[in-house]
Amino acid sequence: MAIARFWRETPRRYNLGGSRCLVCQSVYFPPRTVCPTCSTHRQSIGKMEPLQLSGDGEVVSYTVVHEAAIGFEMQVPYVLALVRTTEGPLLTGQVVNVVPDEMRVGLKVRATFRKLREEGPAGVIHYGYKFAPREEAEAGPRAGREAEPAPAHSPDVSRARA
């Protein structure tokens, strides 16, 4: 993946920057320029304001992945989940700091800033959000609101754990 293609999404992937429609108050992640909920879509154009998610949420469904996507082979078995955030949007992301057998629907989680994958030994390292059980997450670096602003060009590698 080209560096620019990942880099341009850092405000979303590092800090959970979404958007809210000022017309109907619906919240979206990733941000949208047109509100799908408003009955007259065009009304919402120019009225979608940035809104950062808190990163808090609850597991709606999950799976334990054994056949990994390319770049994730070293992480198997990993837990992938659909997380309903307190602000409303549903997000796809990994859940870490949890034994797969202890995963359950309804588990309360919080977004945490992690390494996602590397593009081979000399390639770009991708960072972004994963989720951790809420009490576990409190000890680690936080993605989303209240997070320290992450440097867009040179993420602090020492803070990132896969």
Partner: protein, 389 residues
């Protein structure tokens, strides 16, 4: 809009076709359809070709004129049009061909679907097909197509009490039917236990819940119903062809265990055909993953939401009820050459409705339905066919 008939069918063997090229399989299926429909290629108006990812699989784009050329038709200067919609590419090509004939723009068109998936490694092929989900907001976080469907399965089990064995019943049925289909990728039978105990891909889905990566091509010849009997004794009428779309990512859906794209395509198709689910004797449903087949039965209206598990348990769609599903072996066992699937489903229905399906013939089949999905349901297509008596 005028009525459209299917006049001929063609299909290659599905599987790992190491010795056969994309061009060869595309031409084989297309010519079979022309010969079956007794149409001179001089009378052909256009070619529509469903294909998902020839560029990624073969480093070859612009494949519609390529197939036309190697079919010897470059000199006719026909329009050749490629259609892409992930795993639903074939059904969308059929839809375009149907509209072209129905509108009167062309009289006769060949609709083909072809995919050559085994010229790259399995991991590379998986990466290519995963891209039918949302790359930026699903795959980047480690999602794969089977893992997304696994989360649909978990939710379905959590919400409706669907059992692991209910999921496994469908691949077992598919393999049984494919054992009677000489063109199928897999012709071995598998038991429910074997599916349940197959190597884990994404919990709860095992390897035998997932359809394979296949090579293969299929084609149909379409023409106006009013002149169909000049070409075949058993024209099959396209009673409905409908497409519907939904959000790209699974996490943006209204309901995680419903494909609204299928719900809407089915509603429109049943309305267009003036039919209801109980009128269908043969259905080819998209069971790229076992759970997808269960959800499809609900979304198409064959059973109520949440009841597909029970239907699997009592074998209602495996020959005991009014509707038989996946007589071909389905995506799981007939095979899944992505862009060919939607056309191959229709080929199977035509053979069933003509009474030419031999060992796997569903007796008295008059009305058939095909259901084809792209990604995790961003696109669905529903086609209804009827034997014109």
């Amino acid at each position: 809009m005028r009525d459209v008939a299917i006049l001929g069918t063609g299909m290659t063997k599905f599987g790992e076709l190491w010795d056969r090229s994309f061009r060869e399989i595309g031409i084989e299926a297309g010519f079979q359809a022309l010969v079956d429909g007794k149409l001179s290629s001089h009378d052909l108006g256009a070619l529509y070709l469903g294909n998902m990812a020839s560029g990624a699989f073969l480093e070859q784009e612009h494949i519609a004129p390529l197939i036309l050329d190697y079919a010897g038709l470059a000199g006719h200067h026909l329009p050749a049009i490629r259609v892409e919609a992930g795993g639903a590419s074939g059904a969308l090509a059929l839809h375009e061909g149907y509209l072209a004939v129905a509108s009167g723009a062309y009289d006769f068109v060949v609709v083909g679907g072809a995919e050559k998936m085994t010229d790259v490694s399995d991991t590379e092929a998986s990466r290519i097909v995963d891209a039918t989900a949302d790359t930026e907001w699903e795959l980047v976080f480690g999602a794969t197509l089977p893992s997304l469907w696994a989360m649909v399965a978990r939710k379905h089990m959590h919400e409706y009490g669907t059992l692991r064995e209910d999921l496994a019943a469908l691949p077992a049925h598919d393999h049984l039917m494919a054992s009677k289909n000489p063109l199928a990728h897999f012709r071995n039978k598998v038991s429910v236990d074997q599916v349940v105990n197959s190597g884990m891909v994404a919990d709860p889905l095992g390897l035998l819940d997932c359809s394979p990566l296949s090579d293969g091509a299929a084609a149909v010849l379409l023409g106006p119903m009013e002149s169909a009997r000049k070409y075949t004794d058993t024209p099959i009428r396209i009673a409905a062809s409908q497409i519907a779309c939904d959000t790209m990512a699974l996490h943006h859906r209204r309901d995680l265990t419903t494909l609204d794209s299928t719900v809407f395509a089915a509603k429109r198709a049943f309305s267009q055909a003036r039919r209801k689910p109980a009128d269908i004797q043969v259905a080819e449903i998209d069971d790229a993953y076992s759970i997808a087949g269960l959800v499809a039965l609900e979304d198409l209206g064959f059973v109520a939401k949440g009841e597909a598990g029970a239907a699997m348990r009592d074998g209602r769609f495996f020959g005991k009820g009014t509707t038989m599903i996946n007589a071909s072996g389905g995506l799981k066992a007939q095979g899944r050459p992505f862009g060919a699937v939607g056309v191959a489903q229709v080929v199977e229905l035509v053979r069933q409705l003509r009474g030419e399906a031999k060992d796997r013939q569903v007796s008295g089949a008059q009305v058939g339905l095909a259901h084809n999905v792209g990604g995790t349901g961003a696109t669905s297509a529903v086609t209804i066919l009827e034997r014109a008596n």
